[in-house]
């Protein structure tokens, strides 16, 4: 694999590492392997009847590991969507936390309320989201406004979404507002060509999301979403511009969704096995592994050891999370408002039935 800007090969260097150290490159690879391992674990647990639902991000490993490496932990804010397992891991969420979400345990950040993959962590600067497409984007813009308003120089918001989300009105409203106010935000589109069953050609009249940037008066760029280094570079450039007052960017990473939308979906109803198999040749995980080995960043033995350690960590996380308790029934009523609450205020006998 050669690191390229989309469509233009960099002939002068077979290995453009964008300033990333060997250690960082290996860390990105580990995130990618961990993402795939946990993903498969979710599907396995679903088939075993242990959890009712899991969703998939296979094919997004490179864009997410690259983007996460560009994210400044402890400073930047992440407003993701529900297909961002690798991004979550890359900015510091642990496999144990991911498994707590899959098992809906009380110790989960949402205390078992949210669907799997709807992670959030206040300490990581990681916003809570719903399943409603594009609903997180105005929040991301508001967060960026808050960063700018607080004159918190050097901080930016990274927000992500799929190609389908670009059709929502809130997507448009968010990009427009961010551009008007030159906000410190990066809009990263993980264009995997499928919105459940809807292909890109039914989603938009032309296939390049980044081309919409010009209409908003912000820079637009596209990167090969199967190339983690290119994704790192694109996101790092855009975040650097945002952090230094240069305003928003619309960045598009072209990737592919290898699996069905979720465990409740069957993609054979709307796309052929041939199409999916043809795209498997671009699978970013083995491609990146070959690149690292070829350039001596990692040995074949090192790669195997890394995969073993990932599997052990995933197994350990699974066992520990599964052993944790469900939330209590009474937790249903907690945190509806700041204080305990009854919609009928009755001063005669205080709080009564809800």
């Amino acid at each position: 694999m050669v690191t390229v800007k989309h469509g233009e090969a960099k002939a002068e260097s077979p290995f453009e590492r964008r300033g990333l150290s060997d250690e960082q490159l290996v860390a990105m690879f580990r995130t990618m392997v961990m993402q795939r391992t946990l993903e498969n674990r979710g599907f396995q647990l679903n088939r075993q009847g242990k959890i009712p639902f899991a969703s998939a991000s296979e094919g997004h490993e490179a864009v997410q590991a690259g983007a996460a490496m560009a994210f400044a932990r402890g400073k930047d804010v992440l407003v993701p969507y529900y297909r961002d397992l690798g991004l979550a891991l890359g900015i510091g969420l642990t496999p144990y936390e991911v498994l707590l979400s899959l098992f809906a345990r009380a110790a989960d950040h949402s205390a078992g309320r949210q669907f799997p993959h709807h992670y959030a962590s206040r300490s990581l600067g990681f916003h809570t989201i719903s399943s409603v497409i594009a609903a997180q984007l105005p929040h991301a813009v508001g967060a960026a406004f808050a960063l700018m308003h607080g004159r918190e120089d050097g901080r930016a918001v990274l927000t992500t979404f799929g190609d389908g989300a670009t059709s929502e009105g809130e997507w448009h409203e968010s990009l427009n507002f961010a551009a008007v106010h030159a906000l410190p935000i990066v809009f990263l589109c993980e264009n995997n060509e499928w919105a459940i069953s809807t292909p890109l050609a039914k989603q938009m009249g032309q296939p390049d999301v980044y081309k919409r940037a010009a209409g908003y008066g912000m820079p637009g760029a596209v990167v090969d979403g199967m190339d983690p280094i290119a994704c790192y570079g694109g996101v790092a450039d855009a975040l650097a511009r945002a952090r230094s007052g240069g305003g928003p960017t619309l960045l598009e990473a072209k990737c592919y969704r290898f699996l069905s939308h979720t465990t409740d979906d069957d993609d054979r109803t709307y796309r052929s096995r041939e199409e999916v198999e043809a795209r498997r040749k671009e699978d970013p995980v083995p491609c990146f592994e070959r690149l690292l080995i070829e350039h001596g960043v990692l040995t074949a033995e090192g790669a195997e050891a890394l995969k073993r350690s990932v599997l052990e960590e995933a197994n350990d996380a699974t066992d520990r999370a599964e052993a944790m308790a469900y939330p209590l029934a009474a937790d249903l009523y907690a945190r509806v408002y700041a204080q305990r609450y009854d919609p009928w205020l009755d001063e005669r006998d205080g709080m009564n039935d809800g």
Partner: protein, 334 residues
């Protein structure tokens, strides 16, 4: 119910919706379906499976992910003479289209003094008990039943699904058609063949009784019926009414029953505060207060934003047949 044919087929609610949509598409080429993943995927519950092969992508429209315009485009189609059936993939996703439903579809006839009309159906799966968590399990009926210009239907049985969906499709005004997800495959029943309609606003007395009137709709109708049968075995006599339509609502059926049994229990999954049960209770208090031997009681969803994903949170949110039976016993004993 005007049953045309004596023959019938056993179907679940998914099959009943599917069969009715199919007949509507077959019989009127002004009818089309517009929504997310309704084409090749055939809707996420497979309700429109293979429709695109038979009716083509011009009539089975896979939209971009854009709920406001799914409803809004259907409004424009209806204003220009088509009979669109819009689908919101999950009721939880209907909020972006709130203005198009409440501000536009429901007001089109009124604001143009009848020159323009908006005959359209918005179908959406709603309700919990399916591990749908915060964004795949909500009830939305109370947010919309306040709105004149809109009609709302929430059937529980396959035969009612067909008759009411046909009526909704034929209706000259916008109809919000709510399909409870949990009943989709759980509930099976006889569905008469041929075209028939059930008038919007007509409730169905599922079980006659003398001591208590239970009014419900959707999934909870089935559990209320189960609870009522439990009480029957204990020697009590409970009447169960399936509203089927929420707007308009069948006053005659409710008052006739309450005046006979002198007790009223309203059961619904949507939250209690400001819910459908509040309107029913107020109406009965206005019209039949002195027929009552006990206070009106409501058994409804708790006042929390939605049910959580973890099983105990969902179970706590939902009312079980046992809880319903308990409420029935208490009210009869009052």
């Amino acid at each position: 119910m005007a049953v045309v044919s004596a023959n019938s087929t056993v179907m679940n609610n998914v099959e009943a919706v599917r069969a009715t949509l199919y007949e509507a598409l077959k019989s009127d080429d002004r009818t089309l379906i517009i929504g997310e993943d309704v084409g090749a995927r055939g809707n996420v519950f497979l309700i429109t499976k293979d429709f695109i092969d038979e009716f083509g992508p011009r009539r089975i429209i896979d939209t971009p992910i854009a709920e406001a315009s799914i409803v809004g485009i259907a409004v424009g189609m209806a204003m220009e003479g088509l009979r669109p059936i819009a689908e919101i993939q999950f009721a939880d996703f209907i909020y972006p289209s709130f203005n198009q439903i409440v501000g536009e579809a429901a007001k089109t006839r009124y604001r143009s003094n009848g020159e323009y009309t908006c005959p359209m159906v918005i179908r959406t799966p709603y309700g919990g008990g399916v591990r749908g968590a915060l964004s795949h399990s909500v009830c939305i009926e109370a947010l919309f039943y306040h709105v004149p210009g809109l009609k709302i239907v929430a059937p529980a049985f396959p035969a009612d699904v067909k008759g009411l969906l046909n009526a909704a499709i034929d209706d000259p005004d916008p109809v919000l058609f709510l399909e409870h997800k949990k009943t989709y495959r759980l509930i099976k029943g006889e569905v008469p063949e041929g075209h028939y309609t059930i008038p919007l606003g007509k409730a169905n007395v599922l079980k006659e009784g003398k001591q208590l009137s239970v009014v419900s709709y959707g999934l909870y109708v089935h559990w209320a019926l189960e609870a009522a049968r439990t009480l029957e075995a204990e020697g009590f006599s409970v009447e169960v009414i399936d509203l089927r339509s929420i707007r308009p609502m069948d006053k005659t059926a409710i008052l006739t029953s309450v005046e006979k049994t002198r007790r009223l229990l309203v059961i619904h999954e949507d939250n209690k505060f400001g819910g459908i049960g509040a309107e029913i209770s107020a109406m009965v208090a206005e019209e039949a207060l002195f027929h009552l031997d006990a206070p009106i009681r409501r058994l409804c969803g708790p006042d929390v934003p939605a049910m959580g994903y973890a099983l105990p949170l969902e179970e706590e949110f939902m009312s079980s047949p046992a809880e319903m039976a308990g409420a029935m016993r208490e009210l009869i004993a009052f």
